[in-house]
């Protein structure tokens, strides 16, 4: 199932030109991975299958938005799938009466080159997650891999909603500090 990412990037480029054969090959090579994403986040087989179809329709229509070199092509596809699932879940969730806090960037903006390194970054993020308290690291992973909301995370960890928000936000600041160290 492993396909060199150069091949996938090439397929996406050909799909952007409307090449159906390339789209079929891409589906064959990547649908198991993206189905894994929709199953894990939506946690419902029928919904995961429906979402997967919608995701590949998006991939066909948005292939021209993939910029080779900035992101690994598999990461881009997983992001399209993950974002689609998160949109589905978000639409079902209530709107939090959160204050309109202004966006800030913690400190010096990260090196843009660093974003191309996803493949070799696994050890790095694991090491930085390990620096966090185990339950907080688990909450961060649950948000990314399972698409859990603050409310679901609070319930799973048995803490009040606001505590979970504070946990997670502080964990993200520490994670960022570790990842840019």
């Amino acid at each position: 199932m492993e396909t060199p990412s150069g091949d996938i990037a090439d397929l996406i480029g050909r799909i952007a030109l409307g090449e159906r054969a390339a789209f079929r090959v891409l589906y064959e090579r990547t649908s198991a991975k993206l189905f894994g994403v929709t199953l894990r986040i939506l946690k419902n087989r029928a919904e995961a299958e429906e979402a997967l179809q919608e995701i590949y329709v998006k991939v066909w229509r948005r292939a021209d938005r993939y910029v080779p070199g900035t992101t690994s092509p598999i990461s881009w596809l997983v992001a399209v799938a993950r974002n689609h699932c998160l949109d589905i879940l978000r639409a079902r969730r209530p709107v939090a009466d959160d204050i309109d806090v202004a966006l800030e960037i913690p400190d010096a903006a990260p090196d843009p080159e660093a974003s191309a390194l996803a493949g070799g970054e696994r050890a790095r993020i694991e090491a930085c997650l390990a620096e966090l308290d185990a339950a907080r690291a688990e909450a961060v992973r649950g948000a990314y891999l399972d698409g859990f909301s603050y409310e679901e995370l609070a319930n799973r960890h048995g803490v009040p909603l606001n505590t979970m928000r504070t946990w997670l936000r502080r964990s993200l600041l520490r994670l960022r500090e570790c990842l840019t160290r």
């Binding site: 992001a79 978000r90 966006l103 903006a109 996803a118 504070t166």
Partner: protein, 240 residues
């Protein structure tokens, strides 16, 4: 700066981009952050940073081969192929299904298109000719057209509100009557105003409750004279 004590104050907006990437924000905040990122290269770098770092966890998504019908479903949606035999006739004949389209969308579409309805009103109410409107849309598709039929000149005016066909593809317009037989009204331009004369085959039956539909077809239109591509939008003609 590695302990909670050092970060005593609330993180505030400093983690919003990371929370956005994780999918933790509610709909309005998510939209606000998405727009802010679009406008600010520094926030774009911050987003790329988090996406790249978290994507190192992607191999924890366990691969599972989807059932075959998912792949053929994608093909059918995009290219209108590999669909089960008899799919189109069943769909086209199901007028009750087509009429399930929310009528509320009509008013919204009329306002959005900024079209004067007063001009469209027939001069004599007793005339059989009635002005009709249809909002064409379909769940899962971004293609939206607004159609207005003026009985005074027998022309259908069609405005593309959103959606574009791919390269080597065209949108084709169809009228469907009670008998369920689609009659081609030709290619229509996306994002543009189209004037379509109702052909005799369509105009005899054409009226309230008729369905207009748009399919995605090969460049130049369906080679068979019947729809071959996926349904992109549809709407029921309603008197105004």
């Amino acid at each position: 700066m590695t302990s909670d004590e050092d970060i005593g104050e609330e993180p505030g907006g400093r983690t919003l981009v990371a929370e956005y990437v994780l999918g933790l924000l509610d709909t309005p905040t998510n939209e606000r952050v998405r727009r802010a990122i679009e406008d600010d290269p520094r926030l774009q770098r911050e987003e790329a940073f988090w996406r790249a770092r978290f994507s190192a966890l992607d191999n924890e998504f366990a691969e599972e081969t989807p059932p075959a019908h998912v792949g053929s479903g994608v093909e059918a949606r995009l290219f209108g192929e590999d669909r089960p035999a008899g799919f189109w006739p069943t769909l086209w004949n199901s007028l009750p299904l087509w009429r399930g389209l929310a009528a509320g969308a009509l008013a919204v579409a009329v306002v959005a298109a900024g079209i004067s309805l007063t001009r469209m009103t027939p001069s004599t109410p007793t005339e059989l000719a009635v002005a009709l409107v249809a909002a064409l849309e379909e769940e899962g598709s971004d293609v939206r057209f607004l159609a207005l039929y003026d009985p005074e000149d027998g022309m259908l005016r069609l405005t593309g509100l959103s959606g574009t066909p791919g390269t080597d593809e065209d949108f084709e317009l169809w009228a469907i009557e009670e008998d369920g037989q689609p009659v081609s009204l030709g290619i229509v331009e996306a994002g543009s105003h189209n004037m379509v004369r109702m052909p005799p085959a369509a105009s005899a039956e054409w009226g309230e409750g008729s369905v207009l539909a748009i399919t995605l077809e090969p460049e130049g239109g369906s080679p068979t004279g019947q729809p071959t591509g996926p349904l992109m939008a549809r709407g029921v003609a309603t008197p105004i």
